[in-house]
């Protein structure tokens, strides 16, 4: 509804029910859910007040719908983060960390923002966030606003920017003012 209001689509056109104009949050989610996964390159820039310059990292994302996501950072240091179902594993040199997400409700909500969006799982997203969609199918922006105060204590807003069923940019705005932005480009056509 909001989307249509924002687009200012005349009611007569709505009545014609052209698919292009029926595009809304559900349609976005539906489209995202159809994403078959694959490889993508990412560049992530973190702006941290403590540091004079942003920290930049880059590497590869591998997404296997609906619940498996691997983030292989190549620069500045090789590191692998593997998200598989309930398990979050982090490997960095010899060090390995493993977190069961169900143990950590905040981390789960955080991870679900990413996973829920990639998988187009609206219900999962709405468990922890208020969703605000702007833009159109070709260029949309989805804001996730934490509903849980415990989550809001460290992240203020998560923003996904994309086109059709492809996410191009993810922005995290943290409660302490630090932020990070990740841009994503497909590495192979799927």
């Amino acid at each position: 509804m909001k989307v249509r209001a924002w687009l200012g689509v005349p009611s007569v056109l709505t009545f014609m029910a052209l698919p292009a104009y029926a595009w809304d949050l559900d349609a976005l989610m539906h489209g995202l859910a159809k994403h078959e996964g694959g490889h993508a390159r990412f560049v992530e820039t973190k702006k941290i007040a403590l540091l004079d310059q942003p920290v930049v990292s880059s590497g590869e994302l591998i997404y296997t719908p609906p619940a498996k996501l691997e983030k292989r950072t190549q620069k500045p240091r090789p590191e692998t983060m593997m998200l598989d179902g309930d398990e979050l594993r982090l490997e960095r040199g010899k060090q390995k960390f493993s977190v069961r997400l169900s143990d950590q409700p905040e981390a789960l909500a955080f991870v679900d923002s990413l996973r829920g969006t990639l998988a187009g799982d609206r219900a999962a997203l709405e468990k922890s966030y208020r969703l605000v969609l702007t833009g159109n199918e070709e260029h949309w922006t989805l804001d996730l606003l934490p509903a849980d105060p415990r989550l809001a204590a460290f992240v203020l807003r998560i923003t996904f920017v994309g086109s059709k069923n492809r996410v191009q940019r993810i922005r995290y705005l943290q409660a302490d003012g630090d932020s990070s932005e990740m841009t994503i480009e497909p590495a192979d056509a799927k």
């Binding site: 992530e44 973190k46 941290i48 540091l51 920290v55 990292s57 983060m81 982090l90 960390f97 169900s102």
Partner: protein
């Protein structure tokens, strides 16, 4: 007659003394009966661990039912109550607020604890590298954790310490407390103040857990408590043994009294007949208490079996003696009974030499019990017998059975052939004849073992029992050696030989290591100067790192970390579990883990330790197994020696090869038949079956001697006494065979059939040949 009255006085005095000793005795039901009295050095450690060690104090607790939130509330409340009770050194339930203390200790002491801290780390290049790494880590998803610490800990020492904690192995949690992976249980661990050898103390602690939970769970109708762990095992074993002993004593007493009532038809006779039994049992317990300092529940349980044998003496006396002619009985029958008693004593004396305290207690108990019972029968009963006392004539029983028992002599050759057959059965099965496992003797109910295993695996405390042990005269020296050895072990982990290992030096390094780290820290001005250089090219300013300068300055002069500073935290608990004060000095235990579920390559570990003088590798599972195998070997040897002593005694007393063979053959055959039958029934023989076989020989020797010397077939009274004695024995041991305590069941199932066989075989083989 005066002297004989003195016998009654001595008896009364003796009984009073026994009662006094028993009243003051300490009764146990712990593992001590299964532990060696004279352990080897590596067994010593095993024994200490089982008696006093942390594992012997660890209670594992599960809460089921209710809902996850309800269980979490119960878990927290129960933990708080248990801590307040003062009966537990620690209670853990995964409550994160409880772990805050551990993080605080680690953070405050990070410059003493981190193995990365050295002069190199705090050089300009070292600082640059470490800080660059921390900045890089900010880029990672873990950056959120690091960011808060960066100004205090730019070199990332805390991350090093946390990384070593290996959080992946811990239990899952739900609603802030530990929970099983399937989410059906909340989990807790508690450590009793009472050591494993203090069953009373552990029982109090367990009772408290149940009581506190019952009070808390009033609001959670369907919540259930599961309690396991070594203390629960000790308490359950004691309860099981106590319950069984009471039940069996009642069953066998009722059965035996019923038989005696049937035979004697006289309450006086029954009362008199039980006197030797009671005297024997009291003397046995008192002797064990004096000889061993404590009496194991199993020994008492065994006491009920003694009823079966000791009651025989009074039966022989009453049934065999004719009215008023005690002198005749003393002349005709007493020598045979006496020889039977001596035979039994020979058998049990061998057990006295066992390194297995349980067996040695049994030996002492049986010997003193039998001597007391026989002496009371011989010297006291005749005095207490009222004038004109007589029991019903029992010759009819003997006469009724004589034709059948007499006819058995005709099948002596087939029976001997059967004996050869049983030897073949035993020979064919000799490889699996003996059971080499100690767990089969454990009286712990199987259900409790199952709960224990499931709680442990959920808690991730499933210990595989591989330890590297380091010994030194002083605690600090032992820690230093452990620190040194950790490097070797880490090498094995890197090579993929080990999955991992624990060392107390992670939380409590030796003083020299801590001091070396302190000395590697530059003073404030120097550190600030180095930082300015080190930060060139990094996006971080010195002025942001004031907290770091403060913390390092403080760490340079802070007091070293001691076991005191860890007290009350789970870090202290972990250290205490690994650092033991022993009679010989200090030992550090480093538990090592195989890779995944694979077996440990013990060879590789032993090789890696070969150069270390004070380090030894210990496989507790193998050690326990070996311990038991050693007991079994020893017991078999001792039993054979006992049997040889019996043979010698009989040879000396009978002075005739023919009679010697006649008396011994039924006993040997009875033993062989029972062994073969148990083997064919799929039983693996344990130590206690062996004791049962020894008892069979002890009881059976009386029968064989009476058939040999007393011409039992021709004398109805003698035959009747044997039949009555045999039926009481079968009742006593038959009751044991129904026991749920494996140790008692093993004896019962061996002696019950063994006694019947011994009687029948004595009739077949030991009787005088018809002219």
């Amino acid at each position: 007659m005066k002297g004989n009255r003195a016998a009654v006085l001595v008896w009364c005095f003796g009984l009073a003394a026994c009662l006094l000793i028993i009243w003051r005795s300490h009764f146990t039901a712990d593992m001590s009966a299964f532990l060696p009295q004279r352990p080897s050095p590596s067994q010593q450690l095993l024994v200490e661990q089982l008696r006093e060690g942390n594992l012997s104090r660890l209670v594992v607790i599960g809460i089921e039912g209710s809902d996850p939130a309800g269980r979490a509330v119960l878990s927290k409340a129960l933990a708080a109550q248990l801590v307040a009770s003062g009966l537990f050194s620690t209670v853990q339930n995964g409550d994160a607020t409880a772990l805050a203390k551990e993080r605080e200790i680690l953070f405050a002491n990070r410059y003493l604890l981190s193995p990365m801290v050295d002069a190199e780390r705090f050089s300009v290049a070292g600082l640059h590298g470490a800080i660059a790494e921390s900045v890089d880590l900010l880029a990672s998803p873990a950056g959120l954790v690091v960011k808060g610490l960066l100004t205090h800990d730019p070199t990332g020492e805390m991350m090093t310490l946390l990384g070593a904690l290996d959080p992946g192995d811990g239990p899952a949690s739900s609603h802030g407390v530990w929970a099983s992976r399937d989410g059906r249980r909340a989990l807790l661990m508690a450590q009793t103040n009472a050591a494993g050898s203090d069953t009373d103390g552990q029982q109090r602690a367990l009772d408290r857990i149940h009581a506190e939970f019952a009070a808390l769970a009033a609001d959670h109708a369907d919540a259930r408590l599961l309690v396991a762990g070594a203390p629960a095992f000790a308490v359950a074993s004691r309860a099981a043994i106590k319950g069984e002993v009471e039940r069996l004593a009642i069953i066998s007493a009722v059965g035996i009294i019923a038989v005696l009532l049937l035979v004697y038809r006289s309450a006086t006779a029954i009362a008199l007949g039980l006197l030797p039994v009671l005297s024997g049992a009291l003397a046995g317990v008192a002797a064990v208490s004096l000889g061993f300092g404590s009496v194991h529940g199993l020994t008492i349980g065994f006491g009920t079996t003694l009823i079966g044998e000791a009651v025989d003496y009074s039966i022989y006396y009453f049934v065999q003696s004719r009215e008023g002619l005690d002198a005749d009985w003393r002349r005709e029958f007493w020598p045979t009974v006496r020889l039977g008693v001596l035979t039994s004593l020979c058998g049990f004396a061998s057990l006295l030499f066992s390194g297995f305290p349980g067996l040695a207690q049994l030996g002492l108990y049986s010997m003193s019990g039998l001597i007391a019972a026989a002496a009371v029968t011989r010297f006291v009963l005749p005095q207490l017998k009222p004038p004109g006392f007589r029991i019903r004539d029992t010759a009819a029983i003997g006469r009724a059975c004589a034709p059948f028992l007499g006819s058995l002599a005709r099948i002596r050759w087939p029976v001997l052939a059967l004996g050869v057959g049983t030897m073949a059965v035993i020979g064919a099965n000799h490889a699996r004849l003996w059971n080499a496992s100690l767990t089969d003797l454990s009286p712990v109910p199987a259900g409790l073992v199952q709960i224990d295993q499931s709680l442990r695996s959920e808690l991730g405390t499933h210990d595989r029992g591989y330890l590297v042990v380091i010994s030194a005269p002083e605690r600090d020296a032992a820690l230093a050696a452990a620190q040194h050895l950790s490097a070797h072990l880490q090498g094995l982990v890197d090579q993929g030989v080990l999955g991992g290992f624990d060392t107390p030096t992670r939380f409590l390094p030796d003083a020299a290591s801590q001091r070396a780290r302190q000395e590697a820290l530059p003073d404030r001005a120097e550190l600030a100067a180095r930082l300015r250089q080190a930060l060139i090219g990094l996006p971080l300013r010195v002025d942001k790192l004031t907290p770091f300068l403060d913390d390092v300055e403080k760490a340079r002069t802070m007091p070293l970390l001691t076991s005191e500073s860890l007290k009350g935290s789970s870090l202290g608990l972990a250290v205490d579990a690994m650092v033991l004060h022993r009679a010989t000095g200090w030992s550090v235990l480093l538990p090592v883990r195989p890779v995944g579920d694979a077996d440990l390559d013990t060879q590789a570990v032993r090789q890696a330790l070969a150069g270390e003088r004070d380090a030894a590798f210990l496989d507790l599972g193998a050690e326990t197994h070996q311990l038991y195998a050693q007991y079994l070997d020893e017991a078999i040897g001792l039993s054979l020696a006992g049997f040889a002593a019996i043979a010698l005694l009989l040879g000396a007393a009978l002075r005739s090869w023919e009679r010697f063979v006649r008396v011994l053959a039924p006993l040997v055959l009875a033993v062989l038949l029972v062994m073969a039958a148990l083997t064919l029934a799929g039983e693996h023989l344990t130590l206690l079956h062996l004791v049962g076989l020894l008892l069979t020989v002890a009881v059976g020797s009386n029968y064989a001697l009476f058939f040999d010397q007393g011409d039992a077939i021709g004398q109805p009274r003698t035959l009747a006494s044997l039949i009555v004695a045999n039926s009481t024995t079968v009742i006593g041991f038959g009751a044991l065979a129904t026991s749920s305590v494996p140790v008692l069941q093993a004896i019962g199932i061996t002696v019950g059939p063994g006694a019947v066989l011994a009687l029948l075989l004595s009739a077949t083989l030991a009787g005088r040949r018809p002219a």
